[in-house]
Structure formats: structure tokens, C-alpha cells
């Protein structure tokens, strides 16, 4: 069964007739062709690579159907930089070498972008707990924690 949905992604409206069972992550990747949002687990919501923001709140897009996003504003990693200007968080990930393969990075950026808005002055422990919904296999997390802390300071 199909339904027509209206979803905004990074400010761009989409009106598409899609199968009801389509996951939001597949809508983002395969319909909107925004492949920065990744899939790292079998849709059990553990790895966090598919994290996006729904109306500004970090969410795992593999745990939602696309039809549930009807009428909502979605931001993906492609929507973070404005007019080519990277956010302090994106810059900080580069400066602190907070990514290696970069597969988990978009999800972490989307989660931490919201996190530092809500926690402008986080401690290391708070950042580490804020990251439990995102698995990273390469970095050991140390540089991610440093990058988030630095970005929070620069964003404040």
C-alpha cells in the first residue's frame, strides 16, 4: 500500500507517493538521494549512523517509517553547513581528527549538533553519555569528545 507524503528535508519540500513500509532512512537515501545519512545496523537503532534531526530533535531515521515524518522538517548532515560555511562542530571534527572512516560521522554530527545546543557547556562525562547512541569503531571516541567540547566552547 502506498501513501503520498509531504516531508521537508533541509528546507526542500518533497511530495512523494511511497510504500507505507518504507523506512525514513530509505526515503532520505533513496528517494531524496541524500546519502550522507548511513545505515550501520539492522535497523535496531543501536549504531546511530542514520541519526537525523526531526524538527530539530536528533532521531534515528531507521526507527521511523517515512509516512510518520509527514508534515515534519528533517535536517540531515547535508543541511548543517549553510552556503558552504561549515558549522563549528564540523570544523572541529576536522581540527581534532574526530573521524577516521567517517561512516558514523554524519550521525554523530546530527546528534551532537542538537546536544551542544541543549548543553552549551558540557563536561567530558556528559559528552560521553551523550554519545552512547552512536557507535564509532575507528577513533576510540577520544578525539570526538575533544571536538565536541571545543565546538561547544566556540558555539557558546
Amino acid at each position: 500500500m502506498n501513501t503520498t507524503v509531504k516531508i521537508s528535508i533541509n528546507g526542500e519540500p518533497y511530495e512523494e507517493n511511497i510504500p507505507n513500509r518504507m523506512l525514513l532512512v530509505d526515503f532520505i537515501r533513496e528517494v531524496a538521494m541524500l546519502t550522507g545519512t548511513h545505515v550501520g545496523c539492522t535497523y535496531e537503532g543501536v549504531c546511530g549512523a542514520c541519526t537525523i534531526q526531526l524538527d530539530g530533535e536528533a532521531m534515528k531515521s531507521c526507527l521511523m517509517l517515512a509516512v510518520q515524518a509527514e508534515g515534519h522538517e528533517i535536517t540531515t548532515v547535508e543541511g548543517l553547513a549553510k552556503d558552504g560555511e561549515l558549522t563549528p562542530l564540523q570544523k572541529s571534527f576536522n581540527e581534532h581528527h574526530a573521524l577516521q572512516c567517517g561512516y558514523c560521522t554524519p550521525g554523530i554530527l546530527m546528534n551532537m549538533d542538537e546536544f551542544i545546543k541543549k548543553n552549551p557547556n558540557p563536561t567530558e562525562a556528559e559528552i560521553r553519555h551523550g554519545l552512547v547512541g552512536n557507535l564509532c569503531r575507528c577513533t576510540g571516541y577520544a578525539h570526538i569528545v575533544e571536538a565536541v567540547k571545543d565546538a561547544a566552547e566556540k558555539s557558546a
Binding site: Q100, C136, A142
Partner: protein, 803 residues
């Protein structure tokens, strides 16, 4: 951007060139690629561990709209050559099980591909997989490697006479007489030494599990042949393997590993069965096919390593001199059906590396590897040595205890004092200064102060402990080892092409997995030419444009590839120098009289004489007239770097923990390292490798375990049941350096990262045992879990009460 700079780029922190695309969602991983007309492939995998396939009914699945084709083992067995094929077969004496990409006749592990569905989209593929009915007749499950080796065991491979895939002795020379003499000498030491300790060490099945799973996009054209995008660490080997097994002429096979790959850690190094089938189907159907592995498939079929039992016996004198080792290793290899490694190459190397950085005088080391009804072991960082090093580092601590010595002191006393050195298992260690690394670690550790704190803590009923470990890591793998071990060359190959605008293009046949090759290699080449790293472009992983390389494996980047790139740069610098000397009529000038700096080529004897690097390149490429005698135009060169002997890197670790004796839970309080990575090229990237490797080691040690039930059902095929360390589970690692430049590489660099997790399980477990020393607990099995620690404490308390 073309910055002039007077800086040396080797040894300098430089923010990675890869990061812009990866932080803005513009990375291009395999699953992000598509080809017009592309179809999706879904595997139906076995629900049983060991069973005869009675029938496969695909009629309902075939009837689903959107299903294009379904293939079963019987459909392909006469059309695709079976494995093994010589190109992916080690030159070690072993058995290589015959197999096809889809199960033929029977299934041998839970997760083996049984059928492949080609469909218009992946949702339909999943529906079709559910609609296929397979009738199985169960066979006895072979799950215990020791029982698998007993006479009369059910056989995993029907055409074998038992379940032994590989057996080897590593000590005592090449003849059976010399080995017998050696074993008798070791036996004599074991009978007479002051201290002899024997333990059975077990390390569970776990692995490295990158965040990106595997995938393939195969496209066929009758004239051009096959183009296969594969998530792979070794595209050139995949190309040869596919050509041979699919009987496609080699010039018609091109393999591309995507520029962005989401981690490998060894998992993407084998020649797997899935790409064979997918490439064949693409040819058969004449349609592009994409397969993106699900995480469930990944955890069922690959990423499983370790899984060794090591019965290790060690002998020492009472003053703490290490004398001899005797080890009987048994590895559970799974079904053994996996090109290049066959499940036994990892335990093979683990046995070679057992002696670690100690001066064991004698050794008797033997290994048996059994096939079972589990997924074949696939490589994981700290390749094979994670279990043997756990056994070694734990044993060294136990000896120290018997000698009443600090484990740190005993380690220092027995460290290899001078290199080169060849271990009793034949591992050649080329260079470095182990004592310098160790002494640097001890400076960081401040052991006396920790012991005072520990005493105070014990008085308060708190249990804190300190643990040490050390690790010799292969710095690349020389041909001397690679040819027998994997039937592949060890050399690093790099092509450098300079263009008319003075930019450098570096071509690498290996396939990076996120380690930052584009940045590290750019720094090394920029350093050589005196240009900026942003003026250097590194191209990787496409067999049609890059020189042959055996793959991104075994820390080959900082050792072999970078060295080849530097060598190639030096050849081109000499050519540019000769042209400049000719054009400026510097009759006395030699190739060595020119310095490449700040984007200029400077005549050292008269620095006023100089030419911009760009003009020099332009002159050579665009104005090839009035050439020096015997010269031709063009600035391109390929170098093959090979060290005469294997090279190593070295590290030592110290960590501290606090254990709660009430429940066995423990906190990791600190972790400090001391590293010899030789000349560092980019310190930030090196630190990132170390941080990540240690956390992987901790995650393997504490959390990760693939569990098979009594029927061979794999119970841990998702991230809810197979737990990886999160940010909240680990502390910050303090990385320190005590480098000795490698004398065998042009920059003095060493390759690092691959073996780095190897001493983590021993180091961490040593700390826990040290914390619990009042109970006299010695842990010999992983994973290191609170429930097990709690039980050991309870047992120790009962024993103490009884005494």
C-alpha cells in the same frame, strides 16, 4: 589552494584532506553508489548449522512481482569453478575446503548463503527470501574444536578424513630430528626449572566489525568485461581471483574499491564468496547488480576471529629469568571456506608472534586448527595474536608473582635488549629500542606511588590494580613472510605523476579504510618535493589506474607504501635536477646539488640560481625540446619498495583499574602507552590509530562475544546482543612516544596500527588480577566479565575461609 611554505611536512600535524566530504555528507561509500538499471541482490542464508539440503522451493518467491531471478547452489555448481583457486591459496601446507558461493548439498554454518535473489528493490528481495521454503535434514553439529579433532567426530567436510585443516610446529628448525631434539631440550627445562607455570588460556570468538558492512556492485559488458566495486582492502587480489574463478580474461576485470570505505580492520581483506557470485550473476543477466550486506548478515558470516585455546607452559628461574615456553594452540576455524586466509592464517601468525618482545631462550610451539560448523574466522586487527599475547602477558605476570618481583621489573629484565633479534618462533625483529620504550612507560607510570595508593586503598577495603603489557607489531609484511603466508608479494608500490602545473598525483593500489592515506601520503610526497600537501592528490584502490599492491593490511601504509612514494619522488627529483642543470648550463652540478623547498628547486652551491617547481614541471612536460642528452620527457615513476627483512613497531602499555569485590564490576581508571612508531609523519593520525586500536582491544576484552548455542545457532547477530564499546565505556588514553627511526625505510617511519590492540587483553586483565591480589585470583579466560570475576572472588573467599 597552493600555499608556499617553508615547513617540513613529515612529522607535522595536518588536518585531514578526507574530512570535508565526510563531515558534509558527501562521502561516497559503496551503498551510496548506483548504476542505471541496477538490481538488488538478497541472500537467503542457512537457518541451520549443519544440515543436508533436501529441497529448496522458490516457486512462491519467483511469483512475486519485482523478482528477476533466484539462484541456488545446484544452479551454479557446474557454471562457476569452485574454490580454492591458487591465487588465493597460501603456500603453507594445509587443506583448502572445496566450496561454491552458495551451499551445495549441505549447509555448514548458520548464515551460509543458500540462495540469492535478484530483485528490483531490496524490500521485494526481503519478501522473496521469506517466501523461499528450504527443507533441511539436520546433521550433528560440530562446535567444539577439541572434540572435532577426536577420532570418529562428525566431519564438517565430507570429502576429508577428519576435521584438521592446519597443523604446524614453529620451533626447532626444519628437520624432524632437530625438532625432536629441541622439544626434548624444552622438556628438560620444564622438568628442572625453578618455576614452571601451565595454564589453559581461552579467548572467545570476537572480531572487529567495521561500521560499514560489506557490499558489491558488479556491472558487465560483453566487450569491456567486468567492473566490480567491492568493499575491499585488496582490490588487485580480488581482480586476479575473480578473473581466475570466473574464467574472465584478466584484462576484462577491473575492481574498484570505493574511495570511502567504512572501516576494514582485516574484515575486508579476504577473497569472499559473495563477490564471486554477484559478479557472475551480473554477467549472466547482463544487468548491474548491487548487494549491500545487512548488519545481521555481517555478524553471522564474517567479523569473527580470536577463538583460540592456548595451553601455555612457561619456565623461569627464581630470580626472574625467562627460560622456555611450550605451547599447544588449538583454534576453532569455523568452516574454513574463505579465500586468502581459510581461517587458519590468523592462528598461524598468532603462534609466530607468541614469544613477543622477550628473550625466551627455548620454545616448543605447536598449533592445530580445526574446522567446525561456524562461520569461518576472518581477519581482525591484532591478527591471530590477540589470544596468544593474552596468554603470554598473563603468564609473565604469574611468573613475576612467583618470583616476588614487580611484573614491570620482570618485564624489563627480560626485554630483548638489542635488535635485530629472531625469536624462538622465527619472528625477525629488525630494529628499535625496547628498553627505551619501556623506560619511557615507567616514567609515566610512577609505580612506587601507585603501590602506596594501592596499600591505602586496600586498608579502606577498595581494590585498585595496575597492569602492564607490551607488543611487537609487524610494520608491514615483507615478501619473505607474505609469499608463504598469503601467496602474495609484500612490496609497497606507488606511482607518482607530476603535472604541468607542478601538482603531484600519487597512485596507490592498496585501498584505505579510513586511516587517512590521502593525508599521510600527501604529506610525505609534499615533503619530498617541497610543495604543499594540498598540491598532492592521492588516488587509491582502482585496479585500472594504480600499481599492483597486496592491499591495505598489516600496517603497510607507513612502512611500505609511503616508502615507495618517497622513493618514486626521489627518482623524479633527480630528473628535474638533471633538466635544470642542463637548461642553466651548470656543468658541475650533480643530482644531489639541488634542494626542493618552498615550491622551488634551488641550486645549493649558488642559491640565487633557482626555478619554481611548477616551471620545472611545465618545461619537462609541455616544452620537450632541447632535452638533456639521453633524456625523454615526462615526470612519472613507479617505485616498488621492499625491505630486505620484516620490520616491526613496538609499544608498551600500563593501565589502572578499580574492582568492586561485591559484584565484580570494574572501572578502567587510566591508560597510558609508550610507542615506538619510528619517524612520525602525522602525529594526530598516529594518535587516532592508537586511541582507536586500544578501545577496540578493550571492547574485545570486555564486551564482545559471538555465541553459538548447542545446536550451532548464532545468537549474537545484531548490535543489541553483540555489544561494542561506547564512548561512555572507555577513558581517554594517554599516548606517549619513545621513537627510534627505522633504518630500513627512507623516512625512518614504521607502519603502525594493525597489531596495536594485541597487548590490551593481557594488560587489562593483569590490572584486574593485581587489584584482586589479596584473593590470589588469576584470570585465564576472556571475555573479562563482572559475573566471572565475582564468581572467582566467591571461590577465593571460600578457599580462604576453608584454610
Amino acid at each position: 589552494m597552493s600555499d608556499k611554505t617553508d615547513e617540513a611536512w613529515v612529522g607535522k600535524k595536518f588536518a585531514r584532506k578526507e574530512d570535508h566530504r565526510l563531515t558534509t555528507g558527501r562521502g561516497r561509500f559503496l551503498a551510496d553508489l548506483s548504476i542505471p538499471g541496477m538490481l538488488h541482490l538478497t541472500f537467503l542464508r542457512s537457518e541451520r548449522a549443519h544440515a543436508t539440503i533436501k529441497s529448496i522451493d522458490t516457486s512462491a518467491a519467483n511469483a512475486l512481482p519485482g523478482v528477476i531471478a533466484i539462484y541456488k547452489g545446484e544452479d551454479i555448481r557446474d557454471k562457476i569453478l569452485p574454490m580454492p583457486q591458487p591465487v588465493v591459496q597460501p603456500n603453507l601446507s594445509a587443506r583448502f575446503p572445496k566450496h561454491w558461493p552458495l551451499a551445495v548439498g549441505k549447509v555448514k554454518f548458520h548464515g551460509e548463503p543458500v540462495a540469492a535473489i535478484v530483485s528490483r528493490d531490496k524490500y521485494v528481495g526481503a519478501d522473496a527470501a521469506e517466501a523461499i521454503v528450504v527443507e533441511y535434514e539436520d546433521l550433528p553439529y560440530v562446535g567444539d574444536p577439541e572434540k572435532a579433532l577426536e577420532a570418529g567426530s562428525t566431519k564438517v567436510h565430507d570429502d576429508w578424513d577428519d576435521n584438521l585443516i592446519f597443523e604446524m610446529g614453529f620451533t626447532g628448525g626444519d628437520t624432524s630430528e632437530s625438532q625432536a631434539t629441541n622439544d626434548a631440550e624444552v622438556d628438560e627445562i620444564m622438568k628442572t626449572a625453578d618455576i614452571v607455570i601451565k595454564n589453559r588460556f581461552r579467548v572467545q570468538r570476537c572480531g572487529m566489525t567495521p561500521m560499514e558492512t560489506r557490499g558489491v556492485i558488479a556491472d558487465w559488458d560483453d566487450a569491456d568485461g567486468l567492473v566490480a566495486h567491492i568493499t575491499t582492502q585488496r582490490p588487485h587480489i580480488d581482480r586476479l581471483g575473480l578473473s581466475d574463478i570466473l574464467d574472465i580474461p584478466a584484462e576484462q576485470v577491473r575492481v574498484i574499491s570505493p574511495r570511502d570505505q567504512g572501516g576494514g580492520f582485516g574484515v575486508k581483506a579476504p577473497f569472499y564468496r559473495e563477490p564471486i557470485l554477484i559478479c557472475w550473476i551480473a554477467k549472466e543477466l547482463g544487468r548491474p547488480i548491487r548487494w549491500v550486506e545487512t548488519r545481521q548478515e555481517h555478524l553471522m558470516a564474517v567479523s569473527q576471529e580470536r577463538d583460540q585455546i592456548n595451553d601455555l607452559e612457561v619456565a623461569a628461574s627464581k630470580d626472574g629469568k625467562l627460560l622456555a615456553i611450550r605451547n599447544r594452540g588449538i583454534a576453532d576455524c569455523g568452516d574454513g571456506c574463505e579465500g586468502v586466509y581459510w581461517g587458519f592464517v590468523m592462528p598461524f601468525l598468532g603462534a609466530v608472534e607468541l614469544p613477543n618482545g622477550y628473550t625466551w631462550e627455548k620454545g616448543d610451539v605447536k598449533l592445530k586448527v580445526a574446522v567446525t560448523n561456524k562461520s569461518c574466522l576472518s581477519p581482525a586487527r591484532a591478527f591471530g595474536e590477540f589470544p596468544t599475547r593474552f596468554a603470554m602477558e598473563r603468564s609473565v605476570d604469574m611468573i613475576a608473582k612467583r618470583c616476588n618481583m614487580e611484573p614491570a621489573e620482570l618485564r624489563r629484565k627480560n626485554l630483548i635488549p638489542e635488535l635485530p633479534y629472531t625469536s624462538v618462533c622465527g619472528e625477525y625483529m629488525d630494529s628499535g629500542d625496547f628498553l627505551k620504550v619501556w623506560d619511557n612507560l615507567m616514567k609515566q607510570a610512577d609505580l612506587p606511588s601507585f603501590r602506596r595508593k594501592q596499600e591505602e586503598a586496600h586498608r579502606e577495603g577498595r581494590y585498585i590494580g595496575i597492569g602492564f603489557g607490551l607488543g611487537v607489531e609487524l610494520s608491514g609484511v615483507s615478501s619473505e613472510l607474505m609469499v608463504p603466508m598469503e601467496n602474495q608479494p609484500g612490496y609497497g608500490a606507488a606511482t607518482i605523476r607530476l603535472d604541468a602545473r607542478g601538482k603531484a598525483f600519487v597512485y596507490e593500489g592498496d585501498a584505505p579504510q579510513g586511516q587517512g592515506h590521502e593525508t599521510t601520503a600527501a604529506q610525505a610526497v609534499a615533503h619530498a618535493f617541497g610543495i604543499h600537501p594540498n598540491d598532492v592528490v592521492v588516488v587509491t584502490g582502482d585496479t585500472s589506474t594504480t600499481p599492483f599492491g597486496s592491499g591495505t593490511i598489516g600496517a603497510r601504509m607507513g612502512s611500505y607504501f609511503v616508502s615507495a612514494a618517497v622513493d618514486a619522488s626521489e627518482v623524479l627529483k633527480k630528473k628535474l635536477a638533471r633538466f635544470l642543470a642542463h637548461d642553466l648550463e651548470l656543468e658541475d652540478a650533480t643530482e644531489g646539488d639541488f634542494e626542493f623547498k618552498d615550491g622551488e628547486i634551488i641550486y645549493i652551491k649558488d642559491p640565487k640560481i633557482r626555478q619554481s617547481f611548477r616551471d620545472a614541471c611545465n618545461r619537462n612536460i609541455m616544452a620537450p625540446i632541447n632535452l638533456p642528452e639521453g633524456e625523454s620527457a615526462g615526470l612519472e615513476h613507479t617505485s616498488f619498495f621492499e625491505a630486505a627483512k620484516p620490520m616491526i613497531a613496538f609499544n608498551a602499555d600500563v593501565c589502572t583499574v578499580e574492582v568492586n569485590p561485591e559484584n565484580g564490576q570494574f572501572n578502567l581508571l587510566s591508560w597510558t602507552t609508550s610507542e615506538d612508531v619510528g619517524q612520525i609523519i602525522n602525529p594526530q593520525i598516529v594518535e587516532g590509530q592508537m586511541q582507536g586500536a586500544i578501545v577496540q582491544g578493550i571492547s574485545n576484552t570486555i564486551f564482545e562475544e559471538f555465541i553459538y548455542d548447542e545446536n550451532g545457532q548464532q545468537l549474537t547477530a545484531d548490535f543489541e546482543n553483540y555489544k561494542l564499546a561506547t564512548a561512555a565505556d572507555v577513558p581517554y588514553m594517554r599516548i606517549t612516544h619513545a621513537p627510534t627511526p627505522c633504518p630500513h625505510t627512507p623516512l625512518g617511519s614504521r607502519g603502525i596500527g594493525e597489531g596495536r590492540p594485541s597487548d590490551v587483553p593481557g594488560c587489562l586483565t593483569n590490572a584486574v588480577c593485581d587489584a584482586l591480589s589479596p584473593f590470589g585470583i588469576e584470570i585465564t579466560e576472556l571475555p573479562l566479565r563482572p559475573d566471572k570475576i565475582w564468581r572467582l572472588i566467591q571461590d577465593a573467599k571460600s578457599t580462604q575461609a576453608a584454610n
